[in-house]
């Protein structure tokens, strides 16, 4: 058992040495694999960050009801009762025009501008949290609330979030397509590298077969090579992403400050990094397996 492991380990070492036997070709291969993997992974990372941002900003979908400026106490009371009893509303929070002004001052930092306005331009408002949150019922509820007498304007706050969500979905599929294509490319790269290697080691393969080597024995060093090349390519991809994030950090911080937000780019999580490496190892292994398999079946005929 120990001995079998030792033998596999020495095969692994041979595979490692072969990658850098011709350093330029080896490094170029790894670079190509690294770039091919870092493109979809990087885009995936940006998407994830965008999604996080959307979720953070939009939260649960809400409807803002802005009351007419000339609403009487009586009308307001009646509206409060109506909203409280409505069976499709989970919660209705009243925000007086004074409070709204305070909040505006706090969140935007536009104090000077607001101070310059003189009197408060904001109306009283309700923030409605609906029970059903699908796009259709939200729109229905908004229309219904819009028709209430004291309501000047009913606004669906999360409409843009839904649009954003749809856009992200579109981008997600685009990334998936890109990732699939580049994965195929990665398999092709390994396939070709291994094919060239087989050509240079054809003698060894032939002789080994003639003196009793199993297909598994012949395949092993090439599979290890493919997997190893995939792993190093994966690490290169990870580094490319990490370094790119480093470069993006400063400009993003400036941008985020300008928008008075504390948004930061999250790096690849441990799980995602692990998946990236596992996936690149698998693709390298697969390319090698296909390449040697083709050669062995040709040899058999």
């Amino acid at each position: 058992m120990m001995h079998a492991l030792a033998q596999k380990f020495s095969t692994l070492l041979i595979a490692f040495r072969r990658i850098f036997a011709s350093p330029v070709a080896g490094i170029l291969n790894i670079l190509v694999i690294g770039i091919a993997l870092s493109l979809p992974t990087g885009m995936y990372l940006l998407l994830q960050n965008a999604q996080g941002l959307v979720a953070q900003i939009s939260g649960a979908p809400q409807i803002s009801l802005f009351l007419a400026m000339d609403t009487t106490q009586e009308e307001a009371g009646k509206l409060r009762k109506q909203l409280g009893q409505h069976n499709r509303i989970a919660n209705a929070e009243f925000i007086s025009r004074g409070l709204a002004l305070e909040k505006l001052k706090e969140s935007t930092g536009l104090e000077d501008v607001i101070a310059g306005l003189g009197n408060n331009p904001l109306p009283d408002a309700y923030i409605i949290t609906p029970k059903q949150t699908d796009a259709k019922s939200l729109e229905d509820l908004r229309n219904e609330l819009q028709r209430l007498p004291a309501v000047e304007h009913a606004q669906l706050d999360s409409a843009w979030a839904y649009k954003m969500e749809a856009l992200l979905e579109f981008a997600r599929i685009a990334v998936l397509i890109l990732a699939s294509l580049l994965s195929l490319g990665l398999i092709a790269i390994t396939f070709n590298t291994i094919r060239l290697q087989i050509l240079t080691q054809d003698d060894e393969i032939q002789v080994s077969g003639l003196i009793g080597a199993t297909d598994a024995f012949i395949r092993r060093p090439f599979l290890y090579f493919g997997a190893m090349q995939g792993l190093i390519g994966g690490i290169a991809a990870w580094l490319i992403i990490a370094i790119s994030l480093l470069f993006l950090k400063a400009p993003l911080a400036t941008l985020s400050q300008l928008y008075a937000s504390n948004f930061t780019l999250h790096p690849l999580s441990m799980a995602d990094s692990f998946s990236l490496l596992l996936f690149s190892v698998y693709l390298g292994w697969l390319g090698a397996w296909l390449s040697v398999g083709r050669h062995l079946s040709r040899m058999a005929h």
């Binding site: 079998a4 080994s208 077969g209 003639l210 003196i211 009793g212 199993t214 024995f217």
Partner: protein
Amino acid sequence: MITFNQVSKRYSSGFEALKQVSFELEKGEMAFLTGHSGAGKSTLLKLIAAIERPNSGSVLVNNQNVSALKRAALPYLRRNLGIIFQDHKLLFDRNVFDNVLLPLQICGFDHRESSKRVRAALDKVGLLKREKTNPIALSGGEQQRLCIARAIVNRPSILLADEPTGNLDAEYAQEIMNIFKSFHQVGVTLLISTHDAGVLRDNQIRVIALKQGEIQTSTATPISDEQHVEQTCLPTHPATEENEPA
């Protein structure tokens, strides 16, 4: 140990290499396989190692029908055979030691045991001092002996040699033959193809003579000089040149 039963082999080009060949080689027996080039000697040896498959008939090795073996079973058949190839098939990307090591790596021997065996095999063929040399730097005779060392390192019960003395002068050829005889003495079954008249004359050993893919004679007793002159093409031996068959 090795039994051929009505074995025929036709290559896809249509060339009929072997026709209805039958013979038997006992365990521990040593025999020469003779004939012109193209008589089917190499094909016969390849059939034993299942490098080629017969079109009809059966080839038994150790009572196992190798012509019916599945591809996955072939490695285990070949590990029991020592094959000395006509073109040596040495690997020039590694030294003498590592060339002999290959069969043991394939069988999964551990490092210490295989080093011991490699050195023993190299010692047997007199190449122990050359273990670090690249085989390309060896002479023809030394390359041949290296090839023998690789074939025997696994201690196979059967040794097949295809023209092992092909390009060697008489002295080297006899040296190689003496190595084979020493294996014969310890019970290894040997089948050696040759068209070297000197080798045949100097060694009193059974001869299986092939002519155009058919067995002409299979003698248990050594053949006389005159007989093998008729059966074999002997370009290297001056005594036979004028008698060479048309």
